[in-house]
């Protein structure tokens, strides 16, 4: 099982690492990280800008890259399915072969400029690590979501459309929707429902984790502000981190189930 999954992860990662996609993705974060460090002059500010950009870009790139890749490798996947291997191993291999190169691209791109500066300002190191961890978690979560979308949508164009829709909803429209709900039901005790809404969005969870670290609660958004009031301190961090991990585990599990049952 492990040998099979590792073999497939290896072959897929090799294909992706040689593709322009991952190179461009890594280059983007490299330029962004280097540019912000060089021109903002203040490492804390650079990290904050990097965090804001990562929260938008990572979900978009992971969704689009993974959806398109699953579609373009459809025939290859069918060839692999005809081999004497279990579907669960194949799925694990294909998923890891997508998530790992994407996460590596982000990590290398963001971290290299800091490493070249000897690790950067020690006081900001916690924030940098938080950014790298949250970015990796979001990559894993949205790669899994993209997998689910591509498995359930036969038509490629529609699949990419659905993925873009997921991104628009969670990354762009979400805070506005929450504020609308708050404005409509402001007379009721709605803090708990609002908290639930935050748990329902991995990007919000990532933002919360980063901004609590970066000491920039003004940028938390509505759900984050409510959350910070409810759970300040380490308990809140662990809760949000746990929820974010659940946002990886749940789509991965759903994708595995769909992959096992799918008719190719």
């Amino acid at each position: 099982m492990k040998r099979v999954a590792l073999t497939i992860t290896g072959i897929q990662a090799r294909d992706l690492v040689r593709s322009r996609w991952i190179l461009a993705y890594t280059g983007f974060f490299l330029l962004l990280s280097e540019g912000l460090l060089r021109f903002s002059g203040d490492e804390a500010k650079a990290l904050l800008s990097l965090a804001t950009a990562s929260l938008m870009i990572i979900p978009l790139a992971a969704l689009v890259l993974a959806t398109i890749y699953v579609y373009t490798t459809r025939e290859f996947t069918e060839l692999l399915l005809a081999q004497p291997i279990r579907r669960s191993s194949l799925y694990a291999g294909l998923y890891a072969g997508l998530a790992l190169p994407a996460a590596a691209g982000f990590l290398i791109g963001v971290a290299t400029p800091f490493l070249l500066r000897g690790g950067g300002d020690p006081s900001q190191r916690g924030a940098l690590v938080a950014l790298l961890l949250v970015g990796t978690a979001l990559t894993c979560a949205f790669t899994a979501i993209a997998f689910c979308v591509a498995l359930r949508t036969e038509d490629r164009l529609r699949g990419v459309g659905v993925s873009l829709g997921v991104w628009l909803l969670l990354a762009v429209a979400y805070d506005g929707l929450v504020l609308t709900i708050v404005a409509l039901f402001g007379d009721y005790p709605i803090e708990r429902p609002v908290l639930a809404l935050m748990f329902a969005n991995p990007i919000d969870l990532g933002r919360l984790l980063l901004l609590m670290r970066l000491d920039a609660s003004a940028l938390l958004g509505y759900t984050g502000a409510v959350f910070a009031r409810f759970f300040g301190g380490p308990a809140g961090t662990w809760l949000a981190a746990g929820m974010l991990l659940l946002w990886i585990a749940a789509p991965v599990a759903v994708g595995a189930r769909w992959f096992r049952r799918k008719d190719f």
């Binding site: 072959i11 294909d15 040689r18 593709s19 025939e75 060839l79 081999q83 049952r261 008719d263 190719f264």
Partner: protein
Amino acid sequence: MIEFRGVTKRFGDAHVLRGVDLTIARGRVMGLVGPNGAGKTTLIKLLLGLAHPTGGDVRVDGVSILGDVAYRTRIGYMPQIARFPENLAAGELFRMLRTLRGVNAPMDDGLIDRLGLAEHLDKPLRVLSGGTRQKVNAALGLMFRPDVLVLDEPTAGLDPLSSATLKDEILRRNEAGATVLVTSHIMSELEDLCDEVAFLLDGSVRYAGPIGKLTEQTRQKNLERAIAALMIREVA
């Protein structure tokens, strides 16, 4: 031996297979013919485990393949479309399949040379011509000395010389004892390769047996005309 027993397959409201009974005896070459949408590809996918039947059973050498994985060590599959991850080299694909099928899997060492692929092993697949990629595709199916060979439109996109080489390889595998199931739109090709044909229409088998018997029955001079006669009769 490959057996389909009362196999049905529904995709939503579409009945793609409506009770297929078909037996391919060990060591025989069976051609699968029928118009587009008749269910040929679906039937192949069920044999490979790519899709699950709605009803009925599929057996290889008397053992049901449903829920099984190990039987695929004995199957070689050449899909219709040769699309591979484009930044990989053919050599990497061969090594990968080798690892997946177990290091002890029997290998046909001369195959790469006979198909003229040796010089292309290290190039990225994206720079290979369509014909060469199709040969890589064929090699992936034939490489591990399969007992059961499944080929979907094997000679599509091949020049006459490569096409002849591939047919030789298929027959060589068959002489070594492999049971072969092959689809094609080129009837003369099936006449070259096959002992028997199965004619599929609207999800069920309308004829299965020797080619000679079919041409005799329909009083036609070759397979193409015999199948055409069958289709006219079925539609009328």
